[in-house]
Symmetry: C2
Subunit: 366 residues, 2 copies
């Protein structure tokens, strides 16, 4: 694999729209409804949102970064990113999946600069190699500016992961590092995923898209005409007193649709720039542990730990000692009002806890 | 087994000396130097010391109960047992094992009533059947009053426990429910312990002794003359301003000796009354869990618990939810400044944590 893919190409800036609306339950009990994953201090005391912002800021500049989040999180996002103009953080009044968010982001980007390419970026992924990411994002911006297309940065798979969607690309050679995208593929079974990894034509869909603005407008007009029409008044009112009401009104009638289903899977074509940077969606405490600091005895995390014949554990606790004796491959996360002790292999079952708490009306713990 | 052993015999009252000096680390992190096992709310929110006191109070009366503890715990013991006259709680200025404590207790008991039998009782054992215990204690008091002897309430073993000392009794039939004690036996190996259980002549030494006062005085004079002489001034000064200084002076020169080694194992004879009550020394979190309330999913303890595919765990936490996923046979104990997650089978290794904390000078956690 060429880790310098695209690095010799022309570069350009563009507008960055950070989609920070995720709820997520996989980091419970640290994550809560009012403190979702992207706002947690998961990376050396800093949030993934802050990391995402700082990763793109040198390329975009604060005046050309927008963040779209839930209305109830907007103040927390503004506090996390005080450099941003307040109206560059937009709170969706109702969650309507990703299509309205993308349409709104594209519209607001066009208000800033109708000719600039723009990127739609998840707020809650980990990309430690910021410089490598920026280099490729700049290449993708240049490509999207030059050609009426959408470029997605495809993550090179290092394992037959069955939890992600894949981007299928053509068998023909890459042009200037870009591969011809053929299809968005749903989460595969293990055998299929293994074939993808071996074949070299499939990439993980990390949700990083760089659009030519007229290309997006055409796609939205073709595949999301109602959403586009409903949100047009809000886009037009951005920066005025009428924005909130227009947004509320537009979202109220929007259908909940995924941008992947509604638009991406129906595109005539797209381009894939294979990522030359490390990437993790930090989808679980286990994944967080893989990247967290080593603790004594072969454990990882952030904690004041004493380990007696205990290894392979992921531990997160603040303000107290954690003593582990004789246990392995556990996730231990302590917070002031909830403690999780979970087998690593069962990390995805945290959602069962959430379901139980919801069923019991224990909103204080959600 | 006759659960009514001795219940038809004459009964009498006596003086109760509760030995509450234990330090213990096996209930860390709930237990601390300043809050040892006997003061912890381990039994339905009440302490074992309080339980011990209430178990004997109807028989002895508060004026004939003495508690001997460490000087640094005396105030906490007085707060736990406000019914006791303040000078009935005596704080040992230095820990010198159990022999000085027993000699002091016997001396103070004799000051209260030189002719009354007295019991030496551990403060940190669990005996749920208080009435059955009192009945047998009254029978033992009557026996010790009638015969110049020491009676020990032997715990009928229900398993080949290798962690306790045993009382060996003669093969001859019991007289009035009392068996002739032959020897104090050290902790046996498993095969030996299994033989003890099968043979029916061995009982666990639960440390519950009822003495005829002149018999104790003779034993102390024979086997602990120096300790008896050193502590005589303090005994004589009890209730006066000179008590603390006399106690300090006496203890300073006392050797550290165990009453079991120094006296009990050298006795010419003793009597064993097989206990007709349930007993546990609550020697670990695991043992506590066996007796604690059932929690959901086959777990036990005191906690607000959500268990997802988790059973056999012992959990203790206050003021927070504990969520267990996919784990079994763990001990999970949360406190404000320390959290323990330990395999049940490793419960005895908690002492290794203590050693580590001591080595690191973390006194705040001890």
């Amino acid at each position: 694999m060429d880790h310098g893919i695209g690095t010799h190409l022309p570069r350009a800036g563009g507008i960055c729209v950070i989609m920070a609306g995720g709820r997520g339950t996989r980091f419970w009990p640290l994550s809560r409804t009012r403190l979702p994953k992207q706002l947690l201090p998961l990376v050396g005391g800093r949030s993934l949102l802050r990391e995402t912002y700082e990763r793109v800021a040198p390329l975009a500049g604060p005046g050309r970064i927008l963040v779209i989040t839930g209305a109830d999180l907007a103040e927390a996002v503004r506090a996390e990113l005080p450099e941003l103009p307040a109206d560059h953080v937009v709170g969706e009044p109702i969650g309507r999946n990703t299509a309205p968010c993308a349409v709104l982001g594209a519209g607001l980007a066009a208000r800033l600069d109708p000719d600039a390419p723009f990127a739609l970026l998840p707020a809650d992924h980990l990309i430690p190699d910021a410089e490598a990411f920026r280099t490729q994002l700049a290449v993708a911006f240049a490509r999207a500016a030059a050609v009426a297309t959408v470029v997605t940065l495809g993550i090179v798979p290092d394992r037959p992961e069955t939890g992600y969607g894949y981007l299928e690309t053509g068998a023909d050679a890459a042009t200037d590092g870009f591969r011809r995208g053929l299809a968005f593929v749903e989460k595969p079974d293990l055998a299929t995923a293994a074939g993808y990894v071996a074949g070299g034509r499939h990439f993980w869909n990390g949700g990083i898209f760089v659009w030519n603005p007229s290309c997006f407008a055409a796609a939205a007009a073709a595949h999301l005409p109602r959403v586009a029409a409903l949100l047009a008044p809000a886009v037009a009112a951005h920066g005025t007193d009428g924005f909130a009401a227009a947004l509320e009104s537009g979202y109220r009638d929007c259908p909940a649709e995924s941008i992947d289903y509604a638009v991406m899977e129906r595109l005539d074509g797209f381009e894939v720039l294979p990522a030359a940077f490390r990437w993790s969606d930090l989808g679980s405490w286990d994944a967080w542990g893989d990247l967290a600091a080593p603790l004594e005895g072969g454990n990882r995390g952030e904690a004041d730990l004493v380990a007696i014949d205990a290894d392979g554990n992921v531990v997160r606790a603040a303000g107290k000692l954690v003593a582990l004796v004789g246990v392995r491959d556990l996730v231990v996360v302590d917070t002031p009002d909830a403690l999780l002790v979970c087998r690593k292999a069962d990390a995805q079952r945290i959602k069962d806890i959430i379901a139980r708490l919801e069923g019991a009306g224990r909103r204080d713990l959600l």
